[in-house]
């Protein structure tokens, strides 16, 4: 799983792919499994300013709701419209087709971020 090891994670079960100053965010397979089948996704608007730790997206399953936080300060530059039309992509392909949104990071925000690596994340989930 070398690809997963290239991602960063948060203890809130989000994954982050860092590409320069653009961060792509989704929820982990562990979180998707625990939520159950996703039936609705609420995505932010492109251009929307987001604040680290604030809710920017919601992922709803038949049974419950997952809130997705901005992992850094920044601006939404792209959202994955495919998951709005096909929320099950989050269950079927959480690390790939089920990505949620990407953020352009404000200056220095990345340096202040406290992401964890796959090993630390796996320790949290017990996987």
């Amino acid at each position: 799983m070398s690809e997963l090891s290239e991602l960063k994670y948060t203890p809130e079960h989000e994954w982050i792919r860092i590409d320069g100053d653009v961060l792509t965010i989704g929820i982990t397979a562990f979180a998707a499994e625990k939520l159950g089948e996703v039936v609705y996704v609420d995505l932010p608007q492109v251009g929307q300013a987001v604040q680290r730790g604030k809710v920017v997206s919601e992922v709803e399953s038949t049974k419950s709701v997952g809130e997705v936080y901005a992992p850094v300060d920044g601006e939404v530059v792209e959202v994955n419209a495919a998951v709005s039309d096909n929320p099950e992509l989050i269950n079927d392909s959480p690390f790939d087709q089920g990505w949620l949104f990407s953020i352009r990071v404000s200056s220095d925000a990345l340096a202040e971020a406290s992401f964890i690596d796959l090993e630390a994340y796996s320790a949290i989930t017990g996987a």
Binding site: E33, E37, V39, T62, K63, Y69
Partner: protein
């Protein structure tokens, strides 16, 4: 990400009690959830597929966490008449009845199904989380009667076959010997027979809004019965199903769930269950005075709510007036209905807002979602001609 099911997301999985069918669930690839202190299957593959299977074919549920409390003796019927809000002493052997265990204040300790299995023996099935309260209350309340209360929960496995194909599946279950064919078993009746020589009780009851059967057998035979049912049901589309789809199924059927719609703070009349309290047909019973007095005129009442879109109101979300936006109630259960395709919810609202057709608003995490009061159930199974 944070979720409303934070406990299951927690890495420190609670080590709950295990079903006698635990091994077959794990072998079958189930995901588990902690439910009332039990580790029970939440889904096998897909809760939506399991949901649809129960509506169109059949699903197999392990309900071994439910509490089975035996009340036996010549005074058992009279004891239950006093302990619960229904009439049981006049039930025919084999007949079943849904009822409530009330406090003296009329609050609901639990909802139960009572089966008269023999002339002097009744089985009371209570919710897993209320086992101790139900067994305790029954023991105390029957003390003055010629009846004995035995909590048999640990000894029994309970398996439910639910869905339009359930009768066909039961008829194909090998080695089942009942006094009458399952086709002749009426809704809310049960019969006792043998499966592979072991005593089994088969009841035509359920909690999904579909036709179905619930099977009680000694715990050590549960796993083999489960496997035999799966094999018998394969040709009919039977799938193993978990608690996740059970919740959406019961919600579509408008059935209350303890801890959501039913609680110590709700009187039966508030949640549409006034009809099961038999004030006229029986004498003294626990809660009689409070229920006869009834809830106050402004006490909230249970309604169904439907909305457009894909976003669901959830338990605990405020319900607001459509005009003015003042709080008028709270959602007790809600989901995007897999069968209907739109959001449904049960809510306790002010009686002045309970008329079907009343427009309300559900506060979905700060965003207003229009909702309309709707008659229950949301889903009713098609009648067969």
């Amino acid at each position: 990400m944070d979720t409303a099911v934070n406990a299951p997301v927690d890495s420190t999985q609670p080590h709950g009690r295990l079903s006698p069918l635990d091994d077959v669930h794990r072998a079958g690839g189930a995901s588990f959830t902690d439910f009332a202190g039990w580790q029970m299957p939440v889904r096998y593959s897909s809760e939506l597929e399991e949901h649809h299977a129960v509506r169109t074919a059949a699903g197999l549920f392990d309900l071994s966490h439910m509490a089975e409390i035996l009340v036996k003796g010549p005074g058992a019927g009279a004891a239950l008449d006093y302990a619960l809000c229904g009439v049981f002493s006049t039930l025919a052997v084999g007949q079943a009845r849904y009822s409530l265990l009330l406090t003296t204040d009329g609050g609901i300790i639990d909802d139960v199904i009572v089966y008269r299995t023999h002339e002097h023996r009744f089985g009371v099935v209570a919710n897993a989380g209320n086992r101790a309260q139900a067994a305790g209350a029954l023991s105390v309340r029957t003390a003055g009667f010629d009846a004995t209360v035995v909590d048999e929960s640990d000894a029994l496995a309970l398996i439910a076959v639910q869905g339009p194909m359930s009768q066909a599946i039961m008829a194909k279950l090998p080695d089942l010997h009942l006094p009458t064919p399952v086709a002749d078993l009426r809704y809310y009746w049960s019969t006792t027979g043998a499966w592979r020589g072991e005593e089994i009780m088969v009841a035509r009851t359920g909690y999904t809004g579909e036709d179905g059967f619930e099977l009680y057998i000694l715990a050590e035979h549960g796993a083999s019965l489960w496997s035999a049912l799966l094999a018998a049901g394969e040709e009919f589309g039977l799938v193993p199903a978990g608690l996740a789809c059970r919740d959406t199924l019961r919600l579509e059927a408008g059935m209350p769930l303890y801890g959501h719609e039913l609680s110590l703070d709700t009187l039966p009349q508030q949640v549409g269950l006034g009809r099961i309290v038999k004030l006229a047909q029986k004498g003294e019973f626990v809660g009689r005075g409070a229920v006869a007095h009834g809830p106050s005129s402004d006490a909230p009442v249970l309604v169904g709510l439907t909305s457009d879109g894909r976003r669901a109101g959830r338990a605990g979300y405020p319900v607001l007036a459509a005009e003015g936006g003042e709080p008028v109630g709270v959602v007790t259960s809600g989901a995007l209905s897999p069968t209907l395709g739109f959001p449904i919810a049960l809510a306790l609202v002010s009686p002045s807002r309970a008329e079907p057709g009343t427009e309300l608003v559900i506060d979905v995490r700060g965003k207003p979602m229009p909702a309309v009061v709707t008659s229950l159930p949301f889903y009713k199974r098609p009648t067969t001609d």
